[in-house]
């Protein structure tokens, strides 16, 4: 399954689902990582983490282990 971690800088994709295994998943869902929303990876920090993302024009930072929870639709890479 493709996750936000697999995006390359500048790429946009639609969210398919958020894995609910982590206790952190509700926070992600509250922050707008809902199925159907488009996520863009703006930048990756020089040391690999965190990721700078844009979702619904909102810019935020996320670590790899949280980004791992967000699965993307592969066929709809924009």
């Amino acid at each position: 399954m493709m996750t936000i971690n697999d995006l390359s800088v500048g790429q946009t994709a639609q969210i398919e689902k958020v894995e609910l295994i982590s206790p952190y998943a509700p926070r992600l869902l509250e922050s707008g990582f809902t199925p159907g929303a488009a996520v863009t990876l703006l930048a990756r920090a020089p040391l690999g983490e965190p990721l700078l993302l844009q979702i619904r024009r909102h810019t935020l930072l996320l670590r790899r282990c949280e980004a791992q929870l967000v699965c993307l639709k592969k066929e709809e890479l924009l």
Binding site: S31, G32, T34, L42, A45, E49, P50, L60, L61
Partner: protein, 574 residues
């Protein structure tokens, strides 16, 4: 009549609050700046035709009604327990998604709500627009497009809020699906470039870290270098001058010797020694406020998250740690915005280990006395030692795992002078209050102890004083560290109340006879840098831990740690 302001972090609530009430609460381009409730009266200039006073409450920012940090819990608690007459929900019209989600959730509380779409000026320059009537129709609440920075449409907003009634219609479904529909139907947002040029530079793989180093070096250079020192020296000269004037006035008036000494040495001199730190602190907080206002701190958090993650902290705790170099109290208080309890606890253990600006004069004084050949070497060594111990402590603390990070990334903007001044004023207010209460009384107390013998007779010889008697009780504890004078113990004891006192007690003895060997001077330095934080920092810590016992534990542990470190330094350097 009570109105409440709420909204996401960093949407401009506090700017609006300051504008409406004429107060100067701190604002910043950094989420979580408002960490407690602020209340104020709306100034009558905005409501010329309303006679009754209108109170405004500024709630801390929250992203949703599900509270994830203590900050966010404050908002929900207030809205449940004492609901205001109307709620003004502020959202950023350039970045409305999260704000709309919060608005939808707030509508379910069935309070009268007005939506204020802030930052209209920025939306206009970016070429976007909002269909206010459509939005208002969809949400069944009045919506006003305002700009708190440019003061546009503020009166309209207030009048709408005063007339607001709970909407008779059932609120729309509070889901992100509704938000997406609203965004599509009511907003025309410009296609913004992904990253601006300046951002590309700030986040550049090669240039970002040097830029970060240079900017923080500049802050520290300004603060502890020429600017802060010059201002400090000026203030000190002023105090010396006025001390002379007061002293000669008192002598001319024929005041008794005890009263004369109390007023000049006891109160005036200690006040002066405390207030001379003020310029350093002011410059430090001014510089950090500029950084905060510009949004650069979020870039710093982005760059430093990975190294801090190794210590199981996150990029968000970077700023509180830096603030610790100025004063531990605002540093510990700013931890409240961190969402993870684990990270808050860990950072509040680390902050007291950072040498605050009040410890620097002690450092400088002792190294100037005892290491005339290279006075700056011990200072650098002590800072290095502190940072080393900080890293060691962070690595040893037991924790569950890395603190998660989900942080907003505000756009870069030109910082405003007024914002920086407000921030500076707010952070130093606490210090000034402390200077005139705690430090004032404790220095009077220290003076009393050092100028009276155990038989309560006035003495000018410090060696006969009560302070020395009390200090000598602690000598057995300090003897292994090479500290043999009751003066050392007395200085450290009075430093528990405020670190500034250490210097004023040490100044009682002549510089040359202060320490018997350089090794004992070094061990004193180490101990005084690392031992228990001052009384006000302890109070802030016990607030952060929400338990006095835990605070006492951490303070005692830290003192034991300092004792051990000083012992090692003494043994090694002897």
């Amino acid at each position: 009549m009570t109105l409440a302001l709420c909204g996401c972090p960093n949407c401009g609530k506090t700017t609006l609050f300051n504008l409406l009430t004429g107060q100067s609460q701190r604002t910043g381009n950094w989420p979580g700046v408002t960490v407690q409730l602020c209340r104020g009266r709306i100034s009558p200039a905005f409501l010329p035709d309303v006679l009754a006073p209108v109170t405004l409450i500024d709630l801390p920012g929250a992203k949703s009604l599900t509270p994830f940090s203590p900050d966010e819990a404050v908002m929900l608690r207030l809205l449940r327990q004492s609901p205001p007459d109307a709620l003004i929900v502020v959202i950023d019209s350039c970045d409305p998604a999260q704000g709309l989600y919060l608005t939808l959730q707030l509508l379910s509380l069935r309070l009268p709500v007005v939506l204020a779409l802030n930052m209209a000026d920025r939306l206009q320059t970016q070429g976007g627009c909002v269909h206010l009537s459509r939005l208002s129709h969809a949400l069944h609440i009045p919506c006003v497009l305002i700009s708190a920075r440019k003061h546009t449409q503020i009166q309209t907003l207030l009048h709408t809020a005063l007339q607001a009634k709970p909407s008779p219609y059932p609120p729309p479904d509070a889901s992100w699906h509704t938000v997406d529909q609203l965004l599509q139907r009511c907003f025309q947002l410009p296609q913004s470039p992904f990253l601006t040029r300046l951002d590309r530079l700030c986040l550049h793989p090669f240039f970002a870290y040097p830029l970060l180093l240079v900017s923080f070096f500049l802050v520290f250079f300004c603060t502890f270098g020429p600017v802060g020192q010059t201002l400090s020296a000026l203030l000190n000269t002023f105090f010396q001058y006025s001390l002379q004037r007061v002293s000669s006035f008192l002598s001319a008036a024929g005041t008794p010797a005890v009263l004369h000494a109390l007023l000049t040495d006891g109160l005036f001199r200690s006040m002066g020694s405390v207030l001379s730190f003020l310029p350093v602190l002011l410059v430090f907080f001014f510089c950090t406020a500029l950084m905060e206002d510009s949004g650069y701190l979020a870039r710093a958090a982005f760059l430093l998250d990975a190294p801090l993650c190794r210590l199981r902290l996150s990029g968000r705790s970077f700023f509180p740690l830096v603030t610790g170099f100025g004063c531990s109290v605002p540093a510990v208080l700013s931890l409240r915005a961190l969402p993870s309890a684990d990270e808050r606890r860990c950072a509040s253990l680390l902050i007291p280990l950072i040498p605050c600006s009040a410890k620097l004069p002690v450092l400088l004084f002792i190294s100037a006395c005892c290491f005339q050949t290279a006075p700056l070497l011990p200072v650098a060594l002590c800072y290095a030692l502190c940072l080393l111990l900080l890293l060691l402590t962070a690595a040893c603390l037991p924790r569950k795992g890395a603190a998660p990070l989900l942080m907003d990334f505000p756009p870069l903007r030109v910082p405003t002078l007024r914002g920086a001044l407000h921030a500076m004023q707010n952070k130093t207010r606490d210090f000034i209050v402390r200077a005139f209460t705690v430090i004032f009384f404790t220095s009077a107390l220290v003076w009393l102890l050092q100028s009276f013998t155990p038989a309560f007779t006035f003495t000018r010889n410090a060696r006969e004083s009560l302070l020395f008697q009390i200090g000598s009780l602690f000598l057995p504890l300090l003897a292994p560290l090479g500290l043999d004078s009751p003066l050392h113990a007395a200085a450290l004891l009075s430093g528990l109340l405020a670190k500034e006192n250490i210097l004023s007690v040490l100044a009682l003895s002549s510089a040359s006879s202060l320490f018997s060997t350089p090794a004992s001077a070094l061990s004193f330095l180490t101990f005084s840098l690392l031992y228990a934080p001052c009384a006000s920092a302890c109070a802030a810590l016990s607030q952060a831990y929400k338990s006095r016992r835990r605070m006492l534990c951490s303070v005692l542990l830290q003192t034991a740690f300092a004792w051990l470190a000083a012992l090692i330094v003494y043994r090694l350097s002897r």
